[in-house]
Symmetry: D2
Subunit: 192 residues, 4 copies
Amino acid sequence: MTDPGQLEVAGLCGSLRAASYNRSALQAAGQLMPAGMNLRVASFVEIPIYCADEQERAWPSAVLALGDAIAQADAVLICSPEYNFSVPGGLKNALDWLSRLPRQPFKGKPVAIMGAATGPVGTARMQYDLRRILQFLDAQVLLKPEIFIGNAKAKFDDEGKLVDETTLKFIGDQMTALERLIRREQAVNGAG
Amino acid sequence: MTDPGQLEVAGLCGSLRAASYNRSALQAAGQLMPAGMNLRVASFVEIPIYCADEQERAWPSAVLALGDAIAQADAVLICSPEYNFSVPGGLKNALDWLSRLPRQPFKGKPVAIMGAATGPVGTARMQYDLRRILQFLDAQVLLKPEIFIGNAKAKFDDEGKLVDETTLKFIGDQMTALERLIRREQAVNGAG
Amino acid sequence: MTDPGQLEVAGLCGSLRAASYNRSALQAAGQLMPAGMNLRVASFVEIPIYCADEQERAWPSAVLALGDAIAQADAVLICSPEYNFSVPGGLKNALDWLSRLPRQPFKGKPVAIMGAATGPVGTARMQYDLRRILQFLDAQVLLKPEIFIGNAKAKFDDEGKLVDETTLKFIGDQMTALERLIRREQAVNGAG
Amino acid sequence: MTDPGQLEVAGLCGSLRAASYNRSALQAAGQLMPAGMNLRVASFVEIPIYCADEQERAWPSAVLALGDAIAQADAVLICSPEYNFSVPGGLKNALDWLSRLPRQPFKGKPVAIMGAATGPVGTARMQYDLRRILQFLDAQVLLKPEIFIGNAKAKFDDEGKLVDETTLKFIGDQMTALERLIRREQAVNGAG
């Protein structure tokens, strides 16, 4: 929000694996963003398991840092695998902490969701749970296009780079739609 | 499973808070179990955020311990709050680790679910997500009675003890139904 | 949309029962709307079970009429019971027909959801399924306040009128929030 | 249940379209059933939209007939498209009627679910909603294998026949698993 012409997007990958398909898809999205829109990848790797008693003693610095990254961004892009038919526990745990912050960073924030999986359903179960969770947080979740990257093995090359043309096209479309949602929200809120 | 006449139930509380309503409800369930059925409370407090790279290096001992506790129990009872319209990240994260164990401990395991919340919906959103997750793990989730402890403040006393008679009656009914499910599964599997 | 100062809201009740709690709650909402906002109750009572072959032969007039009512309204208010843990089939069937209309009437339309039930969960399961369905239809579903009228018997009087003060307060708040959402959408779309 | 050696499966197609992919997949399942297991396709085509007032006046004969077909079968196989991210309204409406029958036909009944769709997600959203609905009805829903027939156009031939080998293999596996579930339930209930 520093340069009114630039749009900053905080990226969150639901997997902590270094060679994650979803991390790679997130990077592809960063490269497919419209001009003037930049991706900054954030992480929940240092965030401990949520405990209300610990919150009362002191907020973990990793929670405050991620909260600031989201609050300062114009939008959030979450790219996540599906674990056991739902949202990865680590990602959900980060959202549980963030939801308790006195100044809730997702409130009114445009959010886009993508997911890659080796199976055919392509993280659909994860995405609908995540949409409901973000509804509770008052986020402005982008409705469409939805991006389900199923059968991921066939769509990434040996270096783990996303190379499937159809998928890349959809991701570019989603980034354009996310830009439109950001501009729209800024217009409504008088920030644009 | 050591004493064929005794049934051991591993209890999991979805909240790490010491004074959690759900921890208290879990203890109430332990006291309302039929004769010969015992509750042993387990925990995910030491389990780190799931990372496939860490799994490849070495399984965390807390994961192995919880996996053993569940594998050796005749059933599992999960009592959890709802965080942000779904399963607490810490509980989901524990399930994500457990699901990767070579010998998956939830397979065919009878599981009962309860939840307490201060709001009116009483953890219903959490419970249906949890049922879907446990379906993926091939658990035998008890269908009914479902237990939604809404408006929890009015149902626990000042020491945090569950005192609402209707709720206690439902929990006793669920424990009886869980015993029946365990006996039934043992009969089918020739273990009884 | 005829009088720019007036806001028309098409109301849909998920139950066809004459003495339905939800019909009564819908009427209460109509009376609690801010000045200049009017409720017109529509219905799916004449809509047959969806069949693509029938659609190809001819659109049922009841579908066209409901589609027009929604297209011409500034917003939609759906008040529905929960049947078997989800959206009543009759309501879902109406949405299935409407979704096929060449000019899809829910696209961009502000929608608010309420529900009354005799049980404690107050239609929460129905509401989250309905939100996902309306997401597919590109509707602008109001995020909050959510209204779950649980234990309905205690909140309606002998004539079936909604008399619970807390619930009436929440409904009034939701109508105010709906008006704000309508004005906001009109501002964005240049229609206001 | 007339011949103890024969297993009768009532088949329900969620689409009323004559040339439905799901009707075709249902027929394929009938041919892939183990010896001694037979499919009888039932339908909800004559069932009106649910109305409690109509129920009080008289049960529609089509509801009673479908209820009998299910009550007398050893299992139910539902093969359905996904409409607007959930269960087709017509199918849900039939379940809404059936759930009110004094002798609820789904209670304890083994049920298997399949679905075909032209999109990539292959009816996953429909299937999880349907599982929750059937849980409420106390059905014994088969956990696995799940069958999501995505990108249906490529898997059916010009006459609408399911020809994809991988899919046919999965369907055969599901029918074998359904037979095992039926036998298991019969053993537990002393009916086998």
